[in-house]
Symmetry: C2
Subunit: 195 residues, 2 copies
DNA sequence: TATATACTGAAATGGTCGTTTCACAACCAC
DNA sequence: GTGGTTGTGAAACGACCATTTCAGTATATA
């Protein structure tokens, strides 16, 4: 009976995600979102109920289509002993390849952590669980890297590596070369930890 | 001849700085600034010419009264061999002591890096030079910590420690306990590097 | 005390924000 | 084809934004 929606939801969310990623939640306006999605605001509100609803969809999309595919280098079974190295090499490559003013620099979730997530419980818990997921994946890969390491050692190393990841992503927004160097520092450090 | 200004500029800037620190540049409104400073907008505009002018003054104040005093643990002569450890212990203590919703969590400059600094050359270069200053101070302290380390080793370690600092500050906005743990990870790592 | 100067308060400006409204166009089932 | 339903476009909503204006007030010199 009804008329059918004539846009691809996944593509609309993806374009909105890239804009939020680049500019943050508050600095992204509805006219901006209309422009990048090609949709009128009434369609956006009809599909996502609010700007925040679209942002939440974008965050979900970011986790599914950006974060988790990257983490699979760390978690794919059987886990290679060089999984962590490969992860940081691919991160360094990705950071180096990104043009200076391209969207998709840094991390959508970390950016929100530095911004409104500190005052928004829902977003804060999304960021927390992202942090835990990254940390768990790194711990998993570190265990493959050095099966004899104690769990205290693994936790220590995971915190170090997670921090290098966080720092590289954040720095990539202002100083790409330093961000790449930080990602490579993780690779060097993994060499030192090689059993 | 003229009537004299009847507010303390340093105190006004300090209060504005704490608000920008907590909420970011864009999310802080002029009415907000009027409230925390106790000044009418005409006085603010008269003294700082624009919201951005006040923000720039706040950034300058942040560097002078927050960042550099903290860095003096690392740079004071004669440099103690445990300067870096002391820095991270004091960072961990400061993060642990801060109430959950207090202003002053995280770092004003890193927050801006995750936000508008990526699109604002002036702010970007402020963040870059902050990063360099922190990195240089850490390298200095690391040299005192291990005088025989090569400069490549020092650079590697400085990048690691800088990243732990960046990560701890950013995380402190969403997960204080994990932020404290990250700062303590730096202390542990320095133990491992003890010659 | 007179006066020039600078600070201050209140109100207004023009613009943009997120959201809502409503008429109309498009479609599927019948 | 027709009816009923839903997506879409354009316009309007009130709220808030950063900034400006301007009249009035306080003061330090002369």
């Amino acid at each position: 009976m009804p008329r059918t929606q004539d846009f691809d939801t996944a593509e609309v969310v993806g374009r909105a995600r890239d804009l939020f990623w680049d500019k943050g939640f508050e600095a992204t306006s509805i006219p901006d979102l209309e422009r990048v999605t090609g949709l009128n605001r009434s369609s956006l509100y009809n599909a996502f109920t609010s700007k925040r609803g679209l942002f939440d969809a974008a965050v979900h999309d970011y986790l599914d289509r950006v974060v988790r595919p990257r983490l699979r280098i760390l978690t794919d079974e059987p886990t290679r002993s060089d999984a962590a190295s490969r992860y940081y090499r691919s991160l360094a490559d990705a950071l180096a390849a990104l043009p200076d003013d391209a969207p998709g620099r840094g991390c959508l979730l970390l950016n929100s952590a530095a911004g409104f997530a500190a005052h928004d419980d829902a977003q804060r818990s999304v960021v927390e669980s992202y942090q835990r997921e990254l940390s768990a994946a790194l711990t998993h890969a570190l265990r493959a890297h050095d099966p004899d390491a104690s769990s205290a050692t693994l936790q220590h190393r995971a915190r170090l590596l997670t921090s290098l990841s966080v720092s590289a992503l954040l720095l990539s927004r202002v100083d790409r070369d330093e961000a790449v160097a930080v990602a490579k520092t993780a690779v060097e450090q993994l060499e030192e930890w090689r059993p």
